[in-house]
Amino acid sequence: MVKSGMVNLVQAELRKLLWLPTAWVGLLLGLVAAPALVLVSAGGTRRAIEEGIAGDPSDTAFQPLGIGLLGALILGVVAVSSEYTSTGEDAPRARQLTTTLTAMPRRYRLVAAKAVALSLLVAVQGAITAVATLVLTEVVLGPLVPPADPGRAAAAVLYWVLLGLLSYALTLIFRNGIVTLTVLIVNSSVVSVSYLLTKVTPLAAYLPDIVGAHMFLNEVGDVDIAPLTAGLVMTAWVTALLGLGAWLFERREA
């Protein structure tokens, strides 16, 4: 009974996410961004490799995958923020969350079901994107880059799933998608505070938004972290923050 109950909850959360236009922005952005970056940057990348300034050549195929994490971030945010959106002008304080909690009142189970649904979506999206990006790189750059290691591709997909869960956890904590997106997107694309901090202390390289890149890239910043270590540190961050988010969600008034 408990098991079938959990399956129902995950199905409901999958339906919720898949029938939301904003979630599709995340899904499509995640799917398209990385392969598009391969095409756009092909010329520059080729020149960099030929001139010997490209760094570790085995990273070349994987670097574009970094941008696709935007999709995972958006999905993680939307999974929570859509619950808090006002349902309409007639009842400005009414939100989908009320329906969710009357249908699924056990809150820890609900948080878990959302996490599973989100992970499944991001994993599928990540796998498709990784394959498309690596094949495209092979086609565009050919013999200039070494064949991609499937283990690293799997690590990149896992990294996306963890980032999706990280943004989900942060949105649970802040109850606001804008805060999460600002922290994670600005930090990962415009000015990385975490990266600047690594100039102060190498320990900053273990912060949750940047440590994960070590899971599938050899050269990230100035600090060397083994892929397995990076994966474990990232998982620990996500587990801790998700635990905090779930605890707050359980205690707060809906």
């Binding site: 129902n8 409901a12 339906r15 959106t85 007639d90 009842a91 304080r93 009357t102 009142p105």
Partner: protein
């Protein structure tokens, strides 16, 4: 059967519910009556496990709502608004709710038909009128065909035809042996619909019983209500 016992709730420094207690029985429409801000919605939210009381308990068939397995098959609730995300269609909304409680997909079309929304099932909830939103909320409450219905101001925003429809609809549910609890600040409406009445004012139950008992010697329910809540009414 709904049992509320000694529910006290404090928000910030304000005591918004003070040892609230009453029952709503199967086969009857119980009207939960009180001025705006008296604690009606707060009580219903405690009953549905959305908010937590500092003392007391609120039970549905002897169990707390949050402990119910597949709660939609035990109690259906209608609160503020439609409860649907505004960019979702009514059908998509009802489908995920049905999935969450393992209810068959066919139920979705049945409840849409029941509340008269079949023709608009493909419209986004954000484009619904107030009356349509209430109907969608009611459809959600009915998905699990529950023996208990809990409705917060169900006739708010309905036109006269909609009000009559809702009244008849709830009467039929009670006649089928279900427990119907509805809150309202409209006394005339409740006098038409309710078998039993609970009056709440400033977070306290000031009167409860059958409609006849609560009206007592007063000419109307409205007079009885104003007499019980006179402490506040004077300002008008």
């Amino acid at each position: 059967m709904i049992t509320v016992e000694g529910v006290t709730r404090v928000r910030g420094r304000t005591r918004i519910l003070h040892e609230v207690g009453f029952t709503a029985r199967p086969g009857r429409v119980t009207g939960f009556l009180g001025p705006n801000g008296a604690g009606k919605t707060s009580t219903l939210r405690v009953l549905l496990g959305l908010d937590r009381p500092q003392a007391g308990r609120a039970l549905i068939d002897g169990r707390r709502y949050a402990e119910l397995e597949r709660p939609l098959t035990v109690a259906g609730a209608l609160l503020d608004g439609s409860g649907a995300h505004r960019s979702r269609t009514a059908r998509a909304h009802l489908r995920w709710v049905a999935a969450s409680n393992g209810l068959p997909k066919g139920r979705v079309d049945e409840v849409l038909e029941l509340v008269g929304l079949s023709a608009d099932a493909g419209k986004r909830a954000g484009r619904y009128s107030l009356g349509m939103s209430r109907r969608l909320g009611l459809a959600t409450a009915l998905l699990g065909d529950p023996p208990v219905l809990i409705l917060d101001e169900p006739v708010n925003g309905l036109d006269p035809a909609g009000i009559r429809w809702m009244r008849t609809f709830l009467r039929e549910r009670a006649d089928q042996g279900r427990t119907v609890l509805l809150s309202s600040h409209l006394m005339g409406e409740l006098a038409e619909t309710a078998d039993d009445v609970v009056i709440i004012d400033q977070g306290r139950v000031v009167s409860a019983g059958t409609l006849a008992e609560v009206v007592g010697d007063h000419p109307t329910l409205e007079d009885a209500f104003l007499a019980r809540t006179a402490s506040r009414g004077a300002a008008w």
